[in-house]
């Protein structure tokens, strides 16, 4: 699935990623943990093609295809989805309009037929119900005036609607109370399948109680400095990142 | 509620315009009126070299051909430029060597104003308290500059403009008029012809000026104008903080103050320029008298990453016409403007700033707080512009007006010119009156109306006050209190 090798990237000319190597096979969930400023969000932006995040060395492929050569929307069409740490407000664009435009643009890019309006609405009702999202909210401008928790739920809703293959969750637990966290996690877990993979970026172990990872990696100083099973997350929760910060 | 108590005590302890006394000091005057001979007289009085006189005469010629600007929202009878003295100076023995030789009456004036001119007085203060060097300008001349020697040890030149013209002609020639050209505007042009004195500062590369520099301007003589000229140059990587304070006696005639201030910053240099302007505002009932404060202040941020910050507390003058500006030429240079302008009685103020973004990634920030009371008029006028080359320019402007009373006026006139697609300008402005709910809330807790107003107004201007150097902030807060006395009820 995703293969990242010796990735170096700069932001405003400042090196942030310094030789990051990572493999996430299909069907697996990997967690990336690390102290603040380690480069966690940078990794998610580099993989999704945000402007200003420049790759200076190394590469990243999805099923063998070079990701870095593609535009942001082309990567999305290939199935790369980023759940933003701070989802954007899009004034004037109703959530449903936004998602339908995105879904059809992806389908078009893949040479698939567009989804019909009735089919789209049926799908939206189904997924909204599963995530306990009031359907009326979907008619409002996307994320405008939504609470932090509502925004995160809207990210997972979009994820369910767009049905991506490779999911990146960037600090999805931040700003969520325990009930919202459960709903969001259930939404994510429902997406787990043998042909999908996930990268769960988080500072705290808490989220991993809900979304169980197959592997845990520690990102510090722009590199993966340790990898292990789920027990590594618990160890980090107990001992903190100090050890790795020094190693970096 | 310690702050409230302090404010209350301040209010009780102050008269309306405490700097309104005048002093009988033997003065030298130029003959009344303005012509080329007066210009020559001023130049001769200051023992200026020929090039300076030539420059003054040239400015005078140009000024004759110019018209007084009329676009500001201020109303006043036409100024008779022939009915004023353009030079007034305390009589002095030739070449004052030490403070002991300064006329004791003048020293008394500065003592009354609370400005320390004797270095030992400053040193005798509380241990660890910040020291600041003072240039004292009395009518048309600088009477004394303190701490010159100590500053010279680190290479900082701090002296009167007259002295700089004599002692540092190469620097003056290079920079004077390079930021505000002679014919920039009517009042600046007049200043270029007849400027009297002011401060000159040069901070060499890499030097962080070890103390605050300050100038106290005092207009004492009757019927005289003050035309000070200040030039501050911060060379590469240097830093200086400069303060100016202004007062004048209460007089029935209007007096003209047309100053020009030029700032230059080279790469990575920073100048912080603070003003507490408390010229006599005229009679609050009749509007008679007071200073016409027509000032041109501009900074040229020539160097990359250089920075200029203007902070002003404007409470005095009958008419204020003043727009401290920044020309953001250097790449990544930044300008700031923090202003409190208070008008009461019959005062009129038209003040603001210009932020001219010429270089890439330049930044500017404007915070303006205007308070109008009595029958006064208070206008914020500002320009923010980004030229085609100013890619990535950013501006944020917050412009708030507060009205106290039924007969005052508050105006906001921003000009915004964005000439490229990579500049980002944000501007917010509000006009409100003092909230009766808040006033009632404070009074219900036991504050008098006046105290409650003080408290709320202090809150309104807090963002700007905190930009001032500490000792000035205290003074400014007191000024705010006095300026608004009697504005409610």
């Amino acid at each position: 699935m995703l293969s990242v090798s010796n990735l170096h990237a700069t932001v405003d000319g400042k090196p942030i990623l310094k030789g990051l190597t990572l493999d996430v096979p299909a069907g697996e969930v990997h967690a990336i943990m690390g102290p603040n400023g380690a480069g966690k969000s940078t990794l998610s932006y580099v993989l999704t093609g945000r402007q200003g995040y420049d790759v200076t060395e190394g590469g990243a492929t999805l099923d063998g295809e070079d990701l870095l050569a593609l535009e942001a929307n082309e990567r999305a069409a290939k199935g790369v989805f980023l759940s933003f740490q701070y989802p954007l407000e899009i004034p004037g664009v109703p959530a449903l309009t936004f998602i339908r435009t995105a879904l059809n643009a992806q389908k078009k890019s893949r040479g698939e037929p567009e989804i019909t309006a009735p089919a789209f609405l049926k799908l939206a009702r189904e997924k909204a119900a599963a995530l306990k999202i009031d359907f009326e909210m979907l008619k409002r401008a996307l994320n405008v005036g939504f609470s932090g928790g509502e925004k995160k739920r809207m990210e997972i809703f979009q994820m369910a609607m767009l049905s991506p293959r490779f999911l990146i969750l960037d600090e999805t637990d931040s700003g969520l109370d325990i009930d919202a966290l459960r709903i969001v996690s259930e939404g994510v877990n429902a997406m787990r399948s043998p042909d999908r993979a996930m990268l769960v970026i988080t500072h705290y172990q808490r989220l991993l109680d809900y979304i169980k990872p197959d592997r845990v990696h520690v990102l510090a100083g722009g590199r993966i400095v340790a990898s292990g099973g789920p027990e590594l997350a618990l160890e980090l929760e107990r001992d903190g990142y100090d050890r790795y910060a020094k190693a970096a | 509620m310690a702050a409230v108590k302090q404010t209350v005590e301040q209010v009780q302890g102050l008269e309306k315009y405490k700097h309104g006394f005048s002093s009988d000091i033997e003065q030298d005057f130029a003959p009344k009126g303005l012509n080329a001979d007066i210009v020559r007289f001023i130049s001769a009085k200051k023992n200026e070299p020929q090039w300076m006189l030539d420059s003054r005469l040239d400015a005078f010629e140009r000024w004759l051909a110019m018209d007084e600007p009329d676009w500001a929202k201020v109303n006043f009878p036409r100024i008779d430029y022939q009915d004023s003295y353009y030079y007034a100076a305390p009589k002095e023995k030739v070449g004052i060597a030490s403070l002991d030789e300064v006329d004791p009456e003048i020293l008394e004036v500065y003592k009354k104003l609370g400005i320390p001119l004797k270095e030992q007085e400053v040193l005798a203060g509380v241990v660890g308290s910040p020291r600041y060097a003072v240039d004292a300008v009395f009518d048309s001349v600088s009477v004394v500059t303190t701490f010159k020697k100590e500053l010279a040890q680190v290479g900082v030149i701090f002296c009167s403009m007259s002295e700089a013209i004599r002692e540092h002609p190469e620097l003056v020639k290079q920079y004077l008029g390079s930021v505000v050209p002679v014919s920039d505007n009517y009042f600046a042009c007049l200043n270029a012809a007849v400027f009297s004195d002011g401060s000159f500062v040069y901070v060499p590369p890499g030097v962080r000026c070890p103390m605050e520099l300050s100038t106290y301007f005092r207009i004492n003589a009757e019927n005289s104008g003050q035309f000070e000229r200040t030039l501050i140059i911060a060379d590469k990587g240097s830093y200086v903080s400069y303060l100016e304070g202004c007062t004048a006696p209460m007089r029935d005639e209007n007096q003209l103050h047309a100053a020009v201030v030029e700032l230059v910053t080279m790469d990575d240099a920073e100048i912080k320029y603070s003003t507490v302007q408390n010229w006599y505002p005229g009679d609050p009932e009749t509007g008679k008298g007071g200073i016409y404060n027509f000032v041109t202040k501009r900074a040229d941020c020539r160097g990359d990453r250089s920075k200029v910050s203007w902070t002003q507390v404007e409470t005095g003058s009958s008419i204020t016409w003043k727009y401290p500006s920044c020309v953001l030429r250097g790449e990544g240079s930044s300008g700031e403007f923090y202003s409190i302008a208070i008008t009461n009685g019959r005062q009129q103020a038209d003040t603001g700033t210009k932020m001219i973004h010429l270089g890439a990634n330049t930044r500017s920030r404007i915070i303006s707080k205007g308070i109008s009371a009595g029958r006064s008029s208070n206008t914020y006028r500002g320009l923010v512009s980004a030229h085609p080359k100013a890619k990535g320019a950013r501006n944020f402007t917050q412009c708030d007006s507060l009205l106290i009373g039924k007969h005052c006026a508050a105006h906001t006139v921003p000009y915004i010119e964005a000439r490229n697609g990579q500049a980002k300008f944000e501007h917010e402005a509000t006009t409100t009156r003092l909230s009766e709910d808040q006033l009632f809330y404070a009074m219900q807790r036991g504050l008098s109306q006046e105290e409650a107003v003080q408290l709320l107004v202090n809150g309104f201007v807090k963002d700007v006050l905190q930009e001032l150097p500490m000792e000035f902030a205290v003074e400014a807060q007191k000024l705010v209190a006095i300026s608004l006395e009697g504005s409610v009820g």
Partner: protein
């Protein structure tokens, strides 16, 4: 000095210049060396106007002339008013509109020029007590035209005035509205949209003078400038002495979508009363790159994402149009000019 006088006398000295504070960014004196001859009378057939489908009552002025629209007290009507310029001449038009007490008028106004004409329209609009006027203006001028529209609006207490001026610019295009607002629970909405491209210019100038207590004004202007186009917004709200409890809000937000486009703004407040609540906000800048990336991360290609975001940006003004059918026409009109 006025544009109308200049057209009448053919004296360019009558044209406003950059020295006139109100015209500092729309200098006609410096632009026009010689005024063209008076426009000839038009005899051909006109192509349909943008609102033809919606209105029953039509007023069409071609190359100048006078029109009068009276709505009697208590009556309700829908009128299309077309100010058409054919050819390259100069001409002026005058329109008088009176609404009686409680009358309601939906005015669908359009400016349509097809060449390098110089034209001016003066509108005098009066609303009696309780009257309501919604004025929707589409200014679709020719790129070589100089087009000036100047409306003087006088409101009575409890009247409702709403306008949305949508413009695509011209060589010089000025859309000016001056409202005398009596307070007295009368309300004014002074909206506008501009979409300028190429080397076009547009100027939205509004002045609202509050003369009595309890008046409200709300204004939202949004625009998009691309290529080497230039847009000007001058909005002024005056609150006279004694006009207490005035509530006035003004917002101007512009997107500059090219390196060489220009937006000039002067949102002005002139306040002589203390019991007021007035505010203005102004933003000028490029499109929000974060929002653009967000849309693209969801799979929307860049041109489409940009179009979607600009339409949404403008749409917030169009949504404020009261008359739904006109809202649809305007939305379509704007979309056609954004998707290029």
């Amino acid at each position: 000095m006025s544009v109308a006088a200049a057209i009448r006398t053919r004296d360019v000295g009558e044209l406003p210049s950059r020295r006139d504070e109100d015209w500092r960014w729309t200098d006609l004196r410096g632009l026009i060396r010689v005024l063209p001859d008076a426009s000839e009378a038009f005899t051909g057939t006109l192509s349909p106007g943008p609102f033809d489908r919606l209105a029953a009552d039509h007023h069409v002025l071609v190359n100048g002339g006078d029109a009068r629209i009276d709505v009697a007290a208590g009556k309700k009507t829908l009128v299309a008013l077309r100010l058409v310029s054919r050819g390259v001449g100069a001409h002026a038009s005058r329109v008088t509109i009176n609404l009686g007490a409680g009358a309601r008028l939906r005015l669908l106004e359009s400016y349509e020029s097809d060449g390098a004409s110089v034209c001016q329209t003066a509108l005098t609009i009066t609303l009696a007590e309780g009257a309501a006027l919604e004025r929707i203006v589409l200014a679709q001028d020719h790129e070589d035209a100089v087009s000036v529209s100047q409306a003087e609006v006088r409101l009575s207490p409890t009247a409702d005035f709403g306008q949305t001026i949508v413009a695509s610019g011209a060589r010089r295009q000025r859309l000016e509205t001056r409202v005398v607002h009596p307070g007295g629970r009368a309300s004014a909405r002074m909206d506008g949209v501009y979409l300028v491209a190429d080397k076009r210019h547009t100027d939205h100038t509004t002045v609202v003078t509050h003369e009595g207590v309890d008046g409200t004004t709300s204004q939202l202007i949004k625009g998009v400038a691309r290529d080497q186009a230039r847009a000007v917004f001058q909005g002024k709200i005056i609150v006279s002495e004694g006009a207490d409890r005035t509530d006035a809000r003004m917002g101007h937000h512009a997107l500059i979508l090219s390196d060489r486009a220009e937006v000039d703004a002067k949102p002005e407040l002139e306040i002589y009363a203390d019991d007021v609540s007035c505010a203005h906000g102004n933003t000028v800048g490029a499109m929000d790159e974060d929002a653009l990336f967000y849309a693209r991360q969801r799979g929307i290609p860049e041109p489409e994402a940009r179009a979607m975001l600009t339409e949404a940006f403008i749409g917030q003004v169009i949504d404020r149009i009261w008359f739904e059918d006109a809202r649809k026409v305007v939305r379509k009109w704007a979309a056609e000019r954004l998707r290029v």
